[in-house]
């Protein structure tokens, strides 16, 4: 086709008509594309609800769902005046948990029915504390946190005493309320720390929590 040759009005009309239809078609297709994008956005939003719900499922668990009363054994297993390691199977486990479902704890029977049950996890960063009966201290192997026999903080990086499990005694058997790894967020029952000897740590001023009344007979106020 010779471009220099003027096109007749009829031909021009045909060309214009074709362009108009294409433009109209483009406008329609662009609209449909945007519509489909919007539709997919809605689908994605609907899809996201179960996915986010699945992902955040563990986060929204309530503590009460995991917590249960667990039998630690007859009181006679825990001689008065001693602190002993006890282990229990966590109330919530899966079949493939293996040994990780067995949780240890420290049971301190002061006298009669007066008992304290401490979590194994150091209040600093969760490492397993060990009881030293001679020096009457719990020592943490990770960063050297130390606790007195009643679980109160003695020295090192922990900012509080050992976590304590709620416990009760039924038919001369010891039961504790457990099920969740104790951390600073899931504050297990915070005991009023005992003061060992008044002003025992002169380097630190006595905080209000240190002024609480002692609860055990062996401790001096």
């Amino acid at each position: 086709m010779n471009l220099n040759q003027p096109i007749s009005p009829e031909e021009q009309a045909v060309v214009d008509e074709a362009a108009r239809i294409r433009r109209a078609g483009h406008s329609r297709r662009a609209f449909l594309f945007k519509l489909s994008l919007g539709l997919n956005g809605v689908v994605a939003a609907v899809m996201a609800i179960p996915i986010v719900g699945y992902l955040l499922g563990p986060a929204s668990r309530k503590k009460s769902e995991d917590q249960a009363w667990i039998h630690l054994g007859p009181l006679s297993d825990f001689p008065e005046g001693e602190t002993r390691l006890a282990t229990f199977r966590n109330p919530v486990t899966t079949e493939w948990d293996g040994q990780t479902g067995d949780i240890p704890c420290w049971v301190r029977r002061i006298s009669g029915n007066t008992v304290q049950v401490f979590a194994i996890n150091c209040a600093h960063l969760g490492c397993p504390v060990r009881w030293f009966a001679e020096s009457k201290l719990f020592l943490c192997p990770c960063h050297g946190g130390a606790y007195y026999e009643d679980g109160s903080r003695a020295s090192g990086p922990p900012e509080r005493g050992l976590f304590e499990y709620d416990h009760r005694i039924a038919d001369n058997h010891l039961l504790i309320s457990a099920g969740k790894m104790p951390t600073l967020a899931a504050k297990s029952h915070v005991p009023a720390p005992l003061t060992q000897i008044h002003g025992a740590t002169p380097a630190e001023p006595l905080t209000s929590s240190d002024n609480s009344t002692p609860r055990c007979g062996s401790c001096q106020g």
């Binding site: 282990t87 948990d97 479902g101 194994i120 960063l125 967020a185």
Partner: protein, 488 residues
Amino acid sequence: MPGLKQTSINLYQWFEDRLGLGQPAIDAAVHEVPESTASWWYVFGSAATVLLILQVMTGILLGLVYSPSAGHAWASLEFLDHSVKLGWFLRALHGWGSDFMIAIVLIHMAQVFLFGAYKFPRELTWIVGVLLLLLTLGMAFTGQVLRFDQDSYWGLGIGASIASRVPFIGGALVNLMLGGPIIAGPTLTRFFALHVFILPGLLLAFVGVHLWMVLRLGINEWPMPGRIVSKKTYARDYHKLTQDTGIAFVPDAAWKDVIFAAAIMLAVMACAFFFGPFGPTGQPDPTIIQTAPKPDFAFLWIYAVLAYLPPSLETPVLFIAPVLGIGAMLLLPLLSPEGEKHWSRRPVAVLMVAVIAVTLAVFTHLGTYTPWSPIMDAWTSDPIPATYLHNRTPLERQGALVLQDKQCRNCHSVGGSGGLRGPALDGLASRMTEDQIIRQVLQGGGNMPAYGNALSPSETTALVRFLTTLRPANQQNAIDASRKLAGQ
């Protein structure tokens, strides 16, 4: 055989006609780079990539055997080490490859920082690089979790305890991290998904973006003092430099990368062969509490910092310091995109690298022998040196027994053995009077617990008597000067 050669070319051409990937790849390989970049200082990025490929390959091979079940993971590692042919070597390659990768990534980062490579127009390359560093460390931590042993179990405990300190949402974060109320099966599977799918996927994608930008923007030229980066002129200057001094990346510059990559691979293989795989240590059984958990090498410095932070500062430092540190790294190229690139004109940058390197090295070194940790069996394993018992009264010798029995040695060394948490007791009597020792033992203080409840009066007397004999032969006992003044 000309026939075979022609057949090969035809075969390549057949694929190339359909794929069209060969020519762009060749163009990218032979693109011109400034001659100054063909340097041994420019080999770390490619070495990190090669190590990543090694990690992916060895990781997939370990995945043939590893069982991501809390009840079986540890046994499957033992199986790999002892029952699968060369399983130990694959585990060792993967473990050493991870340590090498972290080291090379850090060196690469220090190098591009000192060479000013993060400045215009490579700001985003640096930012993606920071994300790659974080992902690499994330791979190291999740990989340590998959080596499901005692260190891994209690390392998760440390991670959960850190997460629990986040204000308001700490509890939810712990649940999210553990996948349940305790460290158990669901915890291991989610870390498996992180280590095997999520983090490597992100890592490979970001490496792709990082490399794409290196190709697109050109490799950073060797900096010269006084050659100032300016957004107006940089593109033109770089183009001219490449035109004037350009050499083909492959092979003129890349041969050094290739040799270094081979050297690194040989080093990884040698370490794997001679030192073997890492762990696993004891079984992940929380009821076995006779353990001193420790993180892997790359995290020892954090472990040390956590031991030294005062309790009141710990939570704020744990959450504010990383935000500031990572934020500063991400913002660095945006805050200083122009100016001098050469290290000799950037003394603060050089000082920062030196201070950070020394700090990390010191804390890592401390983390290797953890002087802050009590030595749990020192009281039964380390005897009192015999010289400290010669010519002592029965009471003093009884005191030495009290020192052993009351586990003082777990924190205090005598004769060079024992814990390092408290001061060594060898020269104690020349520093403290008897009264001061009594007060310190009974009431504690500083970092020492009070022993008032754990010692009877007679034990205290014996112990303190023994301690007052511990002084160097040529020194006097410490005295209370005020007593003399008071005429006592």
